[in-house]
């Protein structure tokens, strides 16, 4: 039995602002059915003042996930986007009185959905699924948590142990393989050695790349931009061949048998590879 505060129970039993704004200006999503919790946040924004005039949520998850989402909607309503983005997961947990340690990731989810919703608004309103900044190092592959997210959680919440990091970000909570790496990140952050941003390397045009470079470039985009999103739906993708501009891949997991496999292949995998590497790329299914 969790020791939930009255406030958590109140927001769980009487969630505020449930639903979906039909003509939303921004839609942010985080989590999935597989992770066990997910949140979809829709916002209505005043274009002149950038004030969030309305906000609604839908949550799949436990009592604390529902309560965190509900209180978040109360906290952001009437705030400008800039003010709203300053809300941290800690603020959400504090507004609820407190959350059990093991449930802190519920408040992190609220913060991430809000980030995604604001991004969606700024990009013109198309729904945005929360993702780690491109190019960052995914530490926990089970829950798709980046090094950046872990560092942020450590800073925001003054975390001290690997277990803390798992409670707050879920990283390391499933197979546990990344626990060692989380430990290294922790000691790095705690000893104040903040890692410098990776240097941008000049990109060679795709046509001039050797086959090995092509494979490396495609693999990198698959790993950082494509797989994490497919993972959210329980799927993945594997590179099987590259022949000139033709990249052959195999859809795995849930994506494999999905009715939308064709759309995923062209509309997402090919589109992303074209954006990141070369417009000439054509993706085929193995």
């Amino acid at each position: 039995m969790w020791d939930y505060t009255d406030k958590v129970m109140d927001h769980f039993k009487n969630p505020r602002n449930v639903g979906e704004i039909k003509d939303a200006d921004g839609t942010g999503q985080v989590g999935s059915l597989i992770c066990g919790d997910a949140l979809k946040l829709t916002i209505k924004v005043n274009k002149e003042t950038e004030v969030i005039e309305d906000v609604k949520f839908q949550t799949f998850g436990c009592a604390s996930a529902i309560a965190s989402s509900s209180i978040l909607t109360e906290m952001v309503k009437g705030k400008t986007l800039e003010e709203a983005l300053k809300i941290t997961n800690r603020d959400i947990a504090e507004a609820l009185g407190s959350l059990p340690e093991e449930k802190m990731h519920c408040s992190v989810m609220g913060m991430e959905a809000l980030d995604a919703a604001v991004k969606s608004y700024r990009q013109g309103g198309a729904p945005v699924i929360f993702e780690q900044e491109p190019g960052t190092n995914i530490v926990c592959h089970c829950f798709n948590v980046s090094e950046q997210a872990i560092i942020q959680a450590i800073h925001n919440n003054n975390l001290k142990t690997v277990e803390d990091v798992t409670h707050f970000t879920k990283a390391g909570g499933a197979c546990g393989k990344c626990k060692e790496e989380i430990g290294r990140i922790l000691s790095k952050v705690l000893s104040c050695e903040v890692p410098s941003a990776p240097k941008e390397e000049k990109k060679k045009p795709y046509a001039e790349m050797t086959i090995v470079e092509k494979i490396k470039a495609v693999e990198e985009v698959l790993n950082t931009d494509i797989k994490p999103k497919l993972n959210l739906d329980g799927g993945s993708v594997e590179l099987t061949d590259i022949n000139g501009n033709i990249v052959t891949v195999k859809l795995l997991g849930m994506c494999g048998g999905c009715m939308n496999a064709g759309a995923t292949l062209k509309g997402f995998v090919e589109k992303t590879l074209r954006e990141k590497i070369s417009q000439d790329i054509e993706v085929k299914q193995a």
């Binding site: 129970m9 769980f12 039993k13 969630p15 449930v18 979906e20 999503q29 059915l33 597989i34 992770c35 066990g36 919790d37 997910a38 949140l39 979809k40 839908q58 949550t59 799949f60 998850g61 436990c62 009592a63 996930a65 529902i66 059990p100 093991e102 449930k103 829950f143 798992t166 879920k170 909570g173 499933a174 739906d233 329980g234 849930m254 048998g257 999905c258 009715m259 939308n260």
Partner: protein, 393 residues
């Protein structure tokens, strides 16, 4: 309506007559059963009477039953004793759906150099006999497979599994904590070498359990440092708990018929009514070979902890295999081993009825649960997408 307790696989309440039988041994007859004086030594009789009742419940003889601190200690004792006598055999087998009291010990032994096979189950939770036969070999020291699963109630064919282990020259232990007192358990008929059982699952007190050790089987004690239990389990006898366990076992045997006559009917009514009233749900487990009291139902697209918290508002107790209820981040290992899809695993609820549940209580759950699921689905972002998800399965 007062408390509705549908969580009897977790634990049960101590029966008033059991409590009464225990009471004198706290404040009046508190003597040490090992003492030479009549005041303490007299308690030995009470212990031996209790041992007889527990033995009778599983068709063992009294000398074959050792009292332990509970199911977990019984499991560890059985496993380590078996391995002690086969120092040259380095292979052990269990199922993927065991209680952690067995599963974690096997994982630990795996790290310590044993070759461990975790036998899988099919979509209905049935034991994979073919896989089992294929891995059994001369190097197998021990097979430990549960009699009935705590989460789904699925009953394994213990007699067959045991016979195959013996053919291969391995010892066989079964964790029968969920089966004893709910269905007929006969150690002689099944042929098992060791069996674990627990008092608090059969309306006895917590902190006391039993280990059946087949007559003639060598046993190496887990707890050492005393001559108690004929040198098989050291430590001053917990007389009140032992007396309570004995009394509970006696009553369990006398009232076992209630599970078939009443509990099964109530469980089936509950299950069928919920399946009918709520769309997108499924039963987890082998409906043909199942404990009569257990129903594990997954409600798609909602999360189990939320359901439990809502039920709690109506004073209804059940449990869930969802990740959130345990504080871990993965749903129940039993449902995962069965290959239950995630959207169903997170929303699984286990109802486990007891001998004292009533038709009115079942009616109340049938009345309040459908609106709870409906409401949580309204909050869930996935409900609208359910057709797309179903197509992906």
């Amino acid at each position: 309506m007062s408390l509705i307790y549908f969580d009897n696989n977790a634990t049960t309440g101590v029966l008033p007559e059991v409590f009464e039988a225990m009471a004198p041994y706290f404040t009046e007859k508190y003597g040490n059963a090992s003492s030479m004086h009549h005041f303490g030594g007299g308690n030995k009789k009470a212990i031996e009477r209790a041992r007889m009742y527990v033995a009778s419940l599983i068709n063992a003889s009294a000398a074959e039953v050792v009292f332990t601190s509970g199911g977990t200690e019984s499991d560890s004792s059985a496993i380590y004793s078996a391995l002690h006598f086969y120092p040259n055999k380095k292979h052990i087998i269990t199922s993927a759906v065991e209680h952690p009291a067995v599963l974690e010990v096997f994982k630990k032994l795996g790290k310590e150099g044993y070759r461990v096979d975790f036998i899988g189950v099919d979509g209905d939770g049935r034991f994979n006999m073919e896989q089992y036969k294929a891995v059994l070999d001369k190097d197998t020291a021990l097979v430990s497979v549960m009699w009935a699963n705590s989460e789904t109630g699925t009953i394994f064919p213990i007699k067959d599994i045991c016979a195959l282990a013996h053919e291969a020259g391995a010892l066989f232990h079964t964790d029968a904590v969920q089966a004893v007192g709910k269905i007929a358990v006969d150690v002689k008929e099944a042929g098992v070498d060791m069996l674990s059982c627990s008092s608090h699952k059969i309306n006895g007190p917590k902190g006391i359990g039993g280990l059946y050790i087949r007559q003639g089987l060598r046993f190496f004690p887990f707890m050492v440092g005393g001559h108690q239990e004929r040198l098989r389990r050291a430590g001053t006898e917990n007389v009140p708990a032992i007396v309570g366990f004995g009394e509970a076992a006696r009553i369990a045997k006398e009232t076992l018929f209630l599970y078939e006559d009443n509990v099964r009917i109530l469980r089936d009514n509950l299950e069928n009514a919920l399946l009918k009233a709520i769309p997108d749900c499924r039963v987890n487990g082998d409906r043909e070979h199942r404990l009569p009291n257990t129903s594990n139902i997954s409600f798609g697209y909602v999360e189990g902890e939320s359901i439990l918290m809502m039920l709690d508002e109506y004073d209804i107790c059940a449990s869930s295999g969802s990740a959130c209820t345990s504080g871990s981040l993965e749903p129940s290992h039993v449902l995962m081993a069965m290959g239950v899809p995630f959207q169903f695993a997170h929303g699984s609820i286990r109802f486990s009825l007891g001998k004292f549940n009533t038709e009115e209580e079942v009616e109340q759950v049938i009345k309040v649960l459908p609106p709870i699921i409906k409401r949580l689905r309204e909050i869930s972002p996935f409900h609208g997408e359910k057709r797309a998800c179903a197509a992906r399965q």
